[in-house]
Structures are given as C-alpha cells and as structure tokens.
C-alpha cells in the first residue's frame, strides 16, 4: 500500500469515526456532550486537512521498514491471527490452556527458520507453567478458568 493510499484511508476512517462520535453525543446531557463534540470536530477537520494535503502532494511521509513487504505482512498477519485466536480461546479453555496453546503457536511462528516446533512447545510449557505457579501459589491470583472448569 502506498503512503498516499495509507494517508487517504486513515483520513477517511478518522472522518467516519469523528462523525459517529459527534452524532452519538446528541444522546448525552449538555455538559457531557461538549468535550466529545469539540474533540471529534478537531479530529475530523484535521483528518480532512490530512486528506487535502495528501491529494495536493504535501502529505506526511511514513518511513517504512526495509525488506520484503509481503513477507513482513505475512509474519505480522499470522501473529495477529494467532493473538486473536488465543484471546478468543480464553473464555472457552481458560487462561492457562489458552496461553499454553498461544505461546506454542506464536513460538512456532517466530522461531521458524531458527528453532523447531518442539522448542516452542517446551518454551510454552516452562514459561506458562512457571507463571501459573507464581500466580496461583505465590500471589494467590487465580487464572480464569474456561467452560470446562
């Protein structure tokens, strides 16, 4: 995605959010709506300025990391997917089990090309196990359990 597209896309999203924020404030009491409306207006106007500057060719330049963009996005995209799945698994499997799976899966992704999956599983067992013991036994902070208790 080019910098111009990023700027225009972010400006469009920000204008939409600002309009939503501004209009939703109509339901609030008078003093509760002033501040969100003022801020929404400032953000909205600034986003329009960003869009105009970008269209005129004076938009802010974002420095991107060097290297293959496709591979970069693949790595972070996979990791984000794993993070979302890990989070979604917590209410079902509990924090302990979800974290064991989450750390192992993420480890497999980030260790790729350097260490094997076996190492990721060992790291998951040791690190999650250690923190589970620390919280459960020492700090008496129980990890949330899932549907299976």
């Amino acid at each position: 995605m080019t910098q111009r597209t990023r700027n225009l896309l972010s400006a469009a999203v920000l204008v939409a959010v600002s309009v939503f924020w501004y209009l939703s404030a109509a339901d609030f009491r008078p003093l509760s709506r002033i501040f969100p409306r003022v801020v929404a207006a400032i953000v909205g106007i600034s986003a329009v300025v960003l869009a105009v500057l970008t269209i005129l060719g004076h938009g802010p330049v974002i420095r991107l990391a060097s290297g293959d963009a496709g591979e970069r996005h693949m790595r972070s995209g996979t990791l984000m997917g794993a993070l979302v799945l890990w989070t979604a698994l917590i209410p079902v499997a509990g924090l302990l089990l979800a974290s064991l799976v989450g750390v192992a899966v993420m480890g497999a992704i980030t260790f790729r090309g350097h260490h094997g999956t076996g190492r990721a599983i060992i790291v998951a067992l040791v690190s999650v196990g250690a923190f589970y013991l620390l919280f459960q036994m020492v700090l008496h902070v129980p990890f949330p359990v899932g549907l299976f208790g």
Partner: protein
C-alpha cells in the same frame, strides 16, 4: 519535612529496596541493550507485578528499570551500531567508530560515566524543582488545567518526529478514547456500546500495555530484528580513571548536556532521543575539534549519553507535579502512581512525601549503581546481544502482557481491552500515528474535560465566559505557549524549505559525513 526525608531515606536504604535497585538496573541494561525491546515496554509489562508490592518498592523497581534501560541502549549503539533504545541514536555517531578503532571498552566506560553524571544531575533537578512546581500547581484552577492539557497536546504534536499533523491527530484520538465511560460531570454513560466493561472507561494500565507492547512485538517480528555482529572487547585496567580524568577536562560539555537533557525531558513528547541529538549537536557546534566528530570522538558519546539519562528525570518533573508525562515511560509510571492510589500534584510531596522522596532518592542510587553494574555486566550483555534473537521473545512478551493486564483487577475484560488497543495501535502506527501522542491524549483527556466543563460552569456563574478562559494570568501564559508550540513547527518547516534552518544542522552534517562549515 526532615522526618519525611529521613523516612524516605530509610525506605530506600532497606535491603529489599537496594536489591530491587540492583535487579532493576541490571534488567534495564539488558532490555535497553537488546534492539527491539524498549524501556517503555519493560516498565509497562512490570507495572501490574508491582501492584502487590509496597508503593516504595514498586516505584523503586520501575525507576531503576527506566534508568538502566536508557543507559543500556548505549551498548548496542557502540557495539553493533544500532541504538538499543531511541535515546541512544546520537551515541552511534561516535560510539561505533570508537569500537571499530578498537576502543569499544573506552566508549562503554565513557557512556557509563556520562550516563551516571547526567542521571544524577537530572535527579537533583527533579528533587529541587518538583516541590516548588507542585506547590505552584495549587494555584491552578479548572481553566488553567484545561489550557495545560491543550499545551501538553500541542507540544507533543510539535515535537512528533514524523509529522506535526499526525501528532496532533494522534493526541485527538487519545482524547476521543478518553471520552469512553461515565462523564466527569453530569454522569452520562458515553460510547460504552451497551457493554458493562466499557462503562467505567478504558482501563489505563491494560491500555498502556496494549499501546506500548503489542505494536512493538508485531514490529519486531515484522522487521525481523537480527543483531549485527557484536564488536568484541576486553576490559582494560585503569580505564575508568583515565576516562574520568578525560571527561573532567570538559566540565562545560557535561554540565550543558545535563541541563539540556533535563530541560528537553520536561517537554512532553521530547524524550531522550531528542535530548541526545540536541546535546550532540551543541557538542559539535561548540567544539574546537569539529572534524573529529563522527569518527570516534569521546565528547560525542559523552554529550549524547549525559543528555539522554538526564532526560529521564526531566520527563518525571511535569508528570509528578502536573500529571503531564514528559515521555512514554513517564506515562506508564503515571499509571503506576494511579494504581498505588497516588495522584500527581502537591499532595505527592506532602501526604505521600515519604514514598515520593524515597522514589527520587532511589533514582540517585540507581544512577550510581549503573557504574559498577555497567562495567561488570557489560561483556555478559554483549554476549547476550550476539545470541538472543528478540523475535523469539515475542510469545513471552504477549503472554506477560495478558497476565499483567488480567492481574490488576482479576478481570478478563482487561485482556480483551489490551489486545484490542494493541491491534488498533499497530494499525494506527502503520498509518503513521505513533503511540506517544495517543497515550498523552488518553491521560490528558480527563484533565482537559474536567477543566473545560468546570470552567464553563464558572463562566456561567460569573457571567463572563471569556474572563474565565482568557482573563487569568497563568491561563494567558499557557495560551501563549500553546500558540507558540503550534506555530513553531510551521516556522521551522518554512525555514528549512527556504534553506534557512536546520535545527540539528551539525548532526545532519556528521551523519552525511560532511563536517565542513559547521556553524
């Protein structure tokens, strides 16, 4: 007062505090030395774990990590030409050339002594400036707080490294997020989307963890940080004494860099990186030996490292006195203070004086501890820099982020908040909106809204809205500062476009390898 100071001293000199300082500085050095891990991330991850500690121990540990991490950045700057933290950018200019010439140990000792000096001077500023500033904050009413928040947001936009406009919008996004939850006046429930979890607003610590840890982890995996070849070095006898004597010949450089670092640290958003660059720029500009900068000049390393460690305390001054953090790590420390039930301002130096002064004294000890720890741990840190691939730490950092977010209130919803904020912050970062201004907006939002709402009520009651907002002396000063902070970057950009500027001209010339005509 003297009893309070004695109690604070006793609190910081107890064995547990001393152990925490040692552990904190050591851990901070390691975090700072590994490119990809930042001081802010380390503090954000640790805040929830300090919740169960006494306030003194918790703050002592966080302060030690902050100081250690800023100093630790110099190791990778010198040994692999990659700043471990942004604060060490200027250290690479002369630190790495020194290492290439076989003077790596000399550069590290220089960075260590300079960091200790800058750090201690910064803390002295913090100790002597904060109490009167906190007392001055008692004369602030709602309009002053409103303008203070406005100034804080415009100044962070002004010093945003990528774009003033995006910095300003980032601050606005933070303000928008801060309006989620119950309004401070009249109590309307806003933008909760029918969920109970959002009725009390976004939880600050999980949000800070999300802002500062998740995008960093994703970036480190994306950019696949691979440590370069670490230049090996050996310890040499009497080097500390020799470098100390060498730096004694440049007292003005050290004092100027310390003062610059502290003052720049005070400015919200202008952290150690700007402090280091400006101080380096001044060192080049005022040196008789300008040609040697960029080729391994000890003064370059000293200027950068003195200033960036002085900026640590500088960033804490507005945070402790006015509730306006000067840098992202200070923003996280702000969250830690709130978690311990302490609000920035005059009360911090009266009702909570023992804790606050113990924290300040501990920063002096943390800075002094950097000297032996930096020298002793240096080679081990260098070996770890060679061996550790930071990407492999990504799953553990995310796990700690989750556990940390959950453990504050034993609330699973805080994990969801942290993950959602983290993914959102990553997307915003991709679009050029950095977490710093957004977090400042999030912190300043309630101050600004309360100030605005109460000022409006005062205006209605007095019949003069303009008088309330524009007729008070402190407000007028803050308005002028706000206007200047908005106008300054525009003027600077205009001057640079017309070839008249270049605030860091000397730095650019060193970077470009051109060292002629440095004025």
């Amino acid at each position: 007062m003297s009893t309070m100071l004695l109690n604070a001293l006793a609190g910081v000199l107890d064995p547990v505090s001393l152990l925490l300082i040692t552990l904190g500085v050591s851990a901070g050095i390691l975090v700072g030395a590994l490119p990809g891990l930042t001081a802010t991330m380390a503090i954000a991850l640790l805040v929830p774990f300090t919740f169960g500690m006494s306030p003194i121990h918790g703050l002592v540990l966080l302060g030690a990590i902050y100081s250690g991490a800023i100093y630790g950045g110099s190791f990778s700057a010198i040994l692999i030409n990659t700043p471990g933290t942004p604060s060490a950018i200027a250290t690479t200019f002369d630190g790495f050339p020194m290492a290439q010439k076989g003077e790596a140990y000399r550069a590290i000792v220089t960075a260590t002594i300079a960091s200790v000096f800058g750090g201690v001077v910064g803390v002295l500023f913090l100790i002597f400036l904060s109490p009167p500033l906190a007392r001055a904050s008692l004369s602030f009413g709602p309009p002053e707080y409103f303008w203070l928040a406005a100034f804080g947001l415009t100044i962070i936009a002004a010093v945003s490294p990528r774009s003033t406009l995006k910095g300003l919008i980032g601050g606005g996004i933070g303000l928008l997020i801060s309006t989620i939850g119950i309004a401070p006046i009249e109590g309307s429930v806003r933008y909760s989307f029918g969920t109970v979890a959002l009725q009390n607003g976004i939880s600050l610590i999980p949000a800070l963890i999300g802002f500062f840890c998740i995008p960093e982890v994703l970036r480190m995996v994306e950019e696949s940080h691979q440590s370069g070849t670490v230049i090996p070095y050996k310890r040499q006898r009497n080097m500390v004494r020799r470098v100390f004597l060498r730096l004694l010949r440049h007292p003005w450089l050290m004092i100027r860099s310390s003062v610059l670092g502290t003052l720049i640290g005070i400015i919200p958003g202008a952290g150690g990186n700007i402090a280091g660059l400006v101080s380096y720029n001044e060192a080049v500009r005022t040196s008789r030996n300008r040609d040697s900068f960029g080729t391994g000049n000890i003064e370059g390393v000293a200027a950068s490292e003195t200033a960036n460690n002085a900026s640590v305390s500088g960033a804490l001054i507005p945070m402790l006195t006015l509730g306006v953090p000067g840098a992202p790590p200070a923003a996280v420390l702000f969250g830690a203070l709130l978690l311990q039930g302490m609000r920035p301002g005059a009360e911090l130096f009266t009702a909570h004086g023992t804790i606050t002064y113990a924290f300040l004294f501990s920063l002096i000890l943390a800075n002094l501890a950097m000297l032996p720890l930096g020298i002793v741990l240096g080679r081990a840190v260098a070996r770890l820099m060679q061996k550790v691939r930071v990407q492999t730490m990504a799953p553990l950092i995310i796990f700690l982020s989750m556990v940390g977010s959950y453990s504050i209130y034993n609330n699973v919803a805080d994990i969801y908040t942290m993950v959602a904020v983290g993914l959102g912050a990553h997307a915003l970062r991709k679009a050029g909106f950095m977490p710093g201004p957004i977090v400042l907006g999030l912190i300043l939002g309630p101050i600004a809204e309360q100030g605005l709402s109460q000022s409006l009520l005062m205006g209605r009651a007095s019949g003069s809205l303009a008088g309330v907002f524009f007729g008070r002396p402190i407000s007028l000063i803050l308005i002028v500062l706000t206007v200047v902070s908005v106008a300054a970057p525009i003027v600077v950009q205009w001057r640079e476009r017309h070839g008249k500027g270049g605030t860091l001209k000397a730095v650019h010339q060193v970077q470009d390898g051109r060292r002629e005509d440095i004025q």
